[in-house]
Symmetry: C2
């Protein structure tokens, strides 16, 4: 059986559970991708109820493929299904959101550390080049373009692990948090800071100090989520669980 084929959703690659090998996409697959797109793009906001019938009519199909798409989306964590009550766009408590951001941070750290040990020379050069290019977007304050570079930067580290399962895994987590990460880079200041943190990361990757890279990446993700928390409204406490976090190194 051939390896799973990733599917494009809003520029991010998602590992889908029941992805087709190649041929005719099923209706449920089409619908899943479309809805996933609308959710991550923010058109369907967290908490919004989704009516099977309505979706079916919108796409001109019966409720059956819609229901199957719903279950897939639930698996991805983008919607929540309450039996006999309905489906709604995943809405997370502040606590849960904080927990997820922590796992995201730790997973990114995991990837970065492994990538430090395993990236090829070519991959290292590509990472440097990418990082260098992004500087222009920072200087121009072009948030959207930097956001693209940022995604590429992190994706490069995912792939750098040379562990496809891990890369898919990290990408799925990222997708799942997408609805809550909108406007992550508002403010030129955050753009500059992000770039500086990336600089430090690249340096240590080149030095080959995996543990230091992991530490830097955790910090990088925490400042990012902290910024977000401010924006989303105080109580998000993305720096959550207990008091003492991650000591020095």
């Amino acid at each position: 059986m051939p390896p799973r084929r990733p599917t494009e959703v809003e520029g991010k690659v998602v590992q889908l559970p029941s992805s087709a090998t190649s041929s005719s996409p099923t209706l449920s697959e089409t619908i899943r991708v479309r809805l996933a797109d609308e959710i991550t793009a923010g058109h369907l906001k967290p908490g919004a109820e989704i009516d099977e019938q309505a979706v079916a009519e919108r796409f001109g199909v019966s409720r059956t493929p819609v229901r199957e798409a719903m279950r897939d989306l639930a698996a991805l964590g983008l919607v929540e299904i309450e039996p006999r009550r309905g489906v709604r766009v995943a809405t997370l408590t502040a606590d849960r959101l904080g927990e997820m951001f922590e796992v995201m941070a730790e997973t990114e750290a995991m990837c970065a550390r492994l990538a430090t040990y395993r990236m090829t020379a070519v991959e290292r050069l590509a990472l440097q080049a990418l990082h260098h290019q992004s500087l222009d977007a920072v200087e121009r304050g072009d948030v959207d373009r930097y956001d693209g570079y940022n995604r590429d930067f992190h994706s490069a580290l995912y792939r750098g692990t040379h562990n496809a399962f891990l890369a898919d895994h990290a990408a799925t987590l990222r997708l799942r948090l997408a609805p809550f990460r909108r406007a992550q880079f508002r403010g030129r200041q955050r753009l500059i800071q992000s770039h500086e943190e990336h600089t430090a990361l690249v340096q240590q990757v080149l030095r080959g100090d995996g543990n230091e890279v992991a530490r830097l990446m955790r910090a990088h993700m925490l400042t990012a989520s902290a910024t977000l928390a401010d924006y989303l409204g105080e109580t998000t406490k993305a720096d959550k669980p207990s008091g003492r976090e991650t000591p020095a190194g």
Copy 2:
């Protein structure tokens, strides 16, 4: 919306995508749990084809709930769906299996590290007690009983992170690998070794050295998967990706 309710499957707790809040379990939920059980228990072996109709008749229901259960199982990674071709119990390539074991090891390390910083005094005592109890099973060579203690030990560390999302996450990964981890502790020697490694882990947890705990846990998981690889048949190379793994610490 209340937090997701975990569902018991063969002694392991799984975070299901569309878990019910409390009331009447749906047919698809029932079937999913039953099938998940049979897969993790090894009654349905990896690669085995699953016929919707046959399952439907076996449970005395229509194909509809069976199909929905299938999609959920696919989401858990226990089965693979190839559109218009059918469903089969997830069968992994040696490479992919190795990748998954690595992610499992890294995730366990992540949990152990965070748990080191966050477990309460009571939790630490409970961990010690549990570890102490397991010694008896080791001395008697009671593999099944030790396997239970082992699960509890790792679960205690999951919960010790005080991050429910992470705990669910780790448990799901563990479930997914269950079909391939059967007979992990064959041989008294491995039992003794496992227990010794746990001893070292407990010591460092009590000392509060999270990074050292992470290092020990990675090593612990690697020896476990290496043992497995031998058993499952040479080429599994659970110590996979590249040559250089995780340097010292």
